[in-house]
Symmetry: C2
Subunit: 623 residues, 2 copies
């Protein structure tokens, strides 16, 4: 296919917002950096590496974003052909950034997770499809470290941590999507302790490529003796080319791609239908040599994948917003509202129009709020990185791990849903241009849509949040941790009289959230459990709104303080912009909490319709 697009970078990053979060909104980040683990990493190093990341995103990743969407991936004679820029881009990426989080390096210290995610926001925002190929390298190295046998670690960990090989996660099967308990792939144990695998996997992202010499598949399957359901699942390590115990690379291991799915977006990411052991033996190592604990082991990967989903969403949505902002400041159209009837009034850039400002402020506040949410989660992850070896810090670890666990489904589901909305606004801001490919924004919308589905649909996230994290009520330990955080921010806010209206609205909405969770607890007591899944999506969105409101208020306090200082890091306009984000979101979006509470509280019984009624409807339409 001929390429009609010029190679232009559409991606825009907001480095100042990163700096603001690291050094001003979350000053505790300095505590982390002071720890010996990060002794080789100064403030200046971090600024430099973020700058370098931006340059890489603008110069290398961004320019092939649109071209890879045009080319897509093709299956030719069983081999998957990626967009033509990928091999060279991979070489460069692997060389410049491949071992960034490899803890074994001698020359440099690892980066705190908070900084890592900021880099990833730029990379994933600049070229999301490309980033899927290496996306599981680090999480799977962590998985091996946690659960792999000594041999497995020795064979695979370093290769993955340095991106010499890539990793691929293979859970879904045609009959087993959201319901992984239906997985049928089987492994039969051989005398040498390895397994022979038989099965197929479906909708596997970045499931086949030749970017690296080998790919290591982490496959969810069952041992021969294992039962049905989730408790019979195991995690198999399946290299595309077998790896002998001495590390030498052996024969092709019969992992094959039989089809690619054509989809709305993310077209540079091959969506593969894979077979294991269909045309010859497919050997596997059993993770940690333990059967039936696969789902637990996969959780490590899944949690990281859920956070990454939020980061993908944020990276793209932020760039969509910044592109729309740029367009609106250069497009001359219409007069100021107050001068509508003045024939001699000048045309103004559309950024002057009230409705464009409404859209820009909604985008700005949500992008910044979502970025603060990921920063807050990765601040806790950063604490864990320095505390987890320290027996004195058990309580802190419990706190930070708890907050991470609680926020993970919110990051995944709330940010991916908001990102779609942000793209809608970014397109609308640009009018007809927003709908055209050459503006670059419509692709973000198409790419983002999968994020509410993959790595567990957003409803599954809401179930995880309400059932597993909030204990179906407002009494869970994790919710206490969350409350401590929000309460502390609200308490500090009393020192900022100018923020009083925001504090009042946040306090109110935070109460609404609590009342919704109380209602959930009531349903448990009154055995109306079926109400919970009816409202869990709405409650997750409410929790997302309150969390964003909390963190934007927190940012507004930091910005207020910065404005009083003589020696400011950034311009006054920047800090006033942070105040604006908090004010817009809290006064224009957060009041939605009363609506959610009203709907959750009412005794309406119209939430489900009987199967027969739906069937009648379907029959009426098809007939």
């Amino acid at each position: 296919m001929e390429l009609s697009m010029e190679k232009r970078n559409f991606y825009k990053a907001d480095l100042r917002d990163f700096e603001f979060l690291l050094w001003e909104q979350f000053p505790k980040f300095a505590e982390i950096l002071a720890h010996p683990r990060y002794s080789k990493c100064s403030d200046a190093d971090i600024s430099t590496i973020l700058q370098r990341g931006q340059t890489f995103a603008y110069q290398h990743l961004g320019p092939s974003y649109q071209s890879s969407d045009e080319q897509g991936c093709q299956l030719i004679d069983g081999s998957v052909q990626l967009p033509r820029e990928y091999p060279e881009l991979w070489q460069r990426f692997q060389q410049d950034w491949g071992d960034l989080a490899n803890d074994d390096r001698d020359d440099a210290s690892p980066l705190p997770p908070m900084v890592m995610q900021m880099l990833l926001e730029m990379f994933m925002g600049a070229h999301p499809s490309f980033m899927t190929y290496g996306g599981f390298c680090l999480p799977s190295a962590t998985l091996l470290e946690r659960y792999g046998s000594a041999l497995q670690q020795q064979l695979f960990k370093h290769k993955l941590a340095t991106s010499q090989w890539t990793s691929c996660l293979a859970l879904t099967e045609p009959q087993a999507g959201s319901d992984v308990s239906l997985v049928k792939t089987r492994g039969s144990r051989q005398e040498d302790g390895t397994y022979l695998l038989q099965g197929e996997k479906y909708l596997i992202s970045a499931g086949m490529h030749d970017l690296t010499d080998n790919t290591v598949y982490f496959v969810l399957g069952r041992g021969e003796q294992s039962g049905d359901g989730t408790f019979g699942l195991s995690c198999f390590i399946v290299p595309k080319y077998w790896v002998e115990e001495d590390g030498t690379q052996g024969e092709f291991n019969h992992v094959e791609c039989v089809a690619l799915a054509d989809k709305m977006g993310f077209k540079g990411c091959a969506n593969t239908h894979l077979t294991f052991g269909k045309n010859g033996p497919c050997r596997a190592y059993l993770m940690g040599e333990r059967e039936n604990v696969g789902l637990l082991q996969f959780l490590t990967l899944m949690n990281q994948a859920r956070i990454s989903t939020g980061v993908y969403a944020l990276g793209m949505a932020s760039s969509a917003y910044l592109n729309a902002l740029h367009y609106s400041s250069t497009r001359l159209q219409g007069k100021r509202f107050q001068e509508s009837f003045n024939p001699r009034a000048d045309r103004v850039n559309i950024i002057e129009h009230a409705d464009v400002q409404r859209m820009l402020l909604e985008m700005k506040s949500k992008v910044e709020g979502c970025r603060a949410l990921i920063a807050r989660l990765t601040l806790s992850e950063s604490y864990l990185s320095i505390y987890q070896q320290d027996v004195d810090k058990e309580q802190e670890c419990t706190h930070h791990q708890g907050l991470m666990n609680l926020l993970t489904p919110v990051v995944k589901a709330y940010i991916s849903d908001q990102a779609w909305r942000i793209c809608e606004l970014a397109i609308q801001t640009c009018g007809g241009q927003g709908y055209l490919k050459h503006t670059g924004i419509e692709q973000y919308a198409r790419d983002i849509k999968v994020l509410s589905i993959w790595e567990g649909t957003n409803f599954i996230q809401s179930q995880d949040l309400i059932r597993d994290k909030l204990g179906m009520g407002n009494q869970s330990k994790l919710y206490r941790i969350y409350q401590q955080q929000v309460d502390a921010t609200l308490a500090r806010a009393s020192d900022f009289p100018a923020l009083k209206p925001l504090v009042e609205q946040l306090t109110l909405s935070y109460q609404h959230l609590d009342q919704c969770l109380q209602q959930v607890g009531q349903w448990v007591k009154s055995k109306q459990l079926e109400r919970i899944p009816t409202f869990s999506t709405r409650i997750l969105h409410l929790m997302g709104d309150v969390t964003i409101g909390w963190l934007l208020l927190d940012g507004a306090m930091a910005a207020t303080s910065a404005l009083t200082q003589a020696d400011k890091k950034h311009s006054d306009a920047f800090y006033r912009g942070k105040l604006h984000s908090a004010q817009y979101f809290i006064l224009n979006e957060l009041p939605r909490s009363a609506f959610t509470l009203a709907v959750v509280s009412n005794d309406d019984a119209s939430h489900t319709m009987a199967s027969e009624q739906w069937q009648d409807l379907i029959a009426g339409v098809n007939g």
Copy 2:
């Protein structure tokens, strides 16, 4: 380009809902049908023609929907190549449906507008891109009838009314999008009374094709002596091949396509950049031989185009919903929530899951509500079709014209915005499958996105609603007409005790709308006019919600009555489904009105940010 898609019809229509609206929810439709104008059109004829329309949509339009998206349009040596199915499809369409609304036919009476729009919903939902080519035939025939000279009517009206030629609307220029006052195309008057046109038009839908022997462009431009601004605009009639006064077709008239824009969707609709008179003389007739009244003349076309936009949105969104419904009733995944922990519980189709039901009910209620809205508008249009020649019916005409005028921007903007949301839910309902092309839903989302932009952005619609239709307050004549309608429904509803909770919520939300409009009136009095555009999008959405709530309640009353009758047209399940739609929407969506009112009423000043702040932000990002 090779076609990888099978030719499958994805489109699904809901004929029962049409029948319900025509014969049960709006029994006054019978009054219209009893008028001599429709003497040749019986109830049975209408059912037959709707059935025939569905068959045509399923068998001819639907099957090339996806293929036309894959092929798109190409500009080859100045000629626009459409998807290969179009010429044959056009022949068939023109033959079967081309003169449906041609009043001059002898053999059959015209169809009432209410029925016409139902047919168009199916055609536009089944293949929106294709339908753009003939979309302006009837409205421009009406335009000629209203404003054209005798000669112009004679030359063009019949050809357009019978779809022998097509019509194309050309307003936008690169520098004049939402702001048509910036249009630069110029016509200079010749001695023979025709004009020579010079100019270019941009983002013109279906702007060039060879489906018909000729295309008539209705071009917004200026006479040589005309001033700047909107009052200097004229409407030029520009045939692609000149048409002599005796009706013979003359030479090529130098309307040329210089570029096609590549876009997110609607790919079978050529998005053209046209030049007029660039490489040779381009002659034009001046509409009605009157300069400087072009914008007024175009309003006829624009109003029809705005209603059509709502119909496109409804047709596609309805099919997206019905496809998702069908999928959810066949996809086995997961157990019932109450049996989550029962290892022997059966898997159920996902339609049994509460969150899927939430999405289906949101889609169902919105689709049915939007369809009722278009039906209500076209009921008034149908009244006008029988009353407008009747001097005794002046008052009725004022009433119906007023309601149409008021509802038109709501139909355009509210339905197009809701349609995007419905597609989001339809994709989500189908999970990973929803993101794949072979499921057919993602294309609806991509196609629908333009509808919030074209024919006046949705913000422009909200300005029209609040400024021109509602008179910036709650005192306008059109609003009185609207209130009469809603009040009458609420009064009748007191006979239906089972609907009491719905009546209460609708009454409350209707008050909220009124309070928002009062607030708008207050801003006018206190000279805070700039607040109006800040909130007009939100107020339009609120008015849409209330209107949908009103019409769904109205439908619920009709369904309740039907259920008590021995001789029902449809199944009990169908009528109970109508009740469910009303209940779900009114109790789960309509309470949002309190949120809108709260935001409109608060005295927050964060709605705009100063230009310097935005500029600082842009500089910070690009730097």
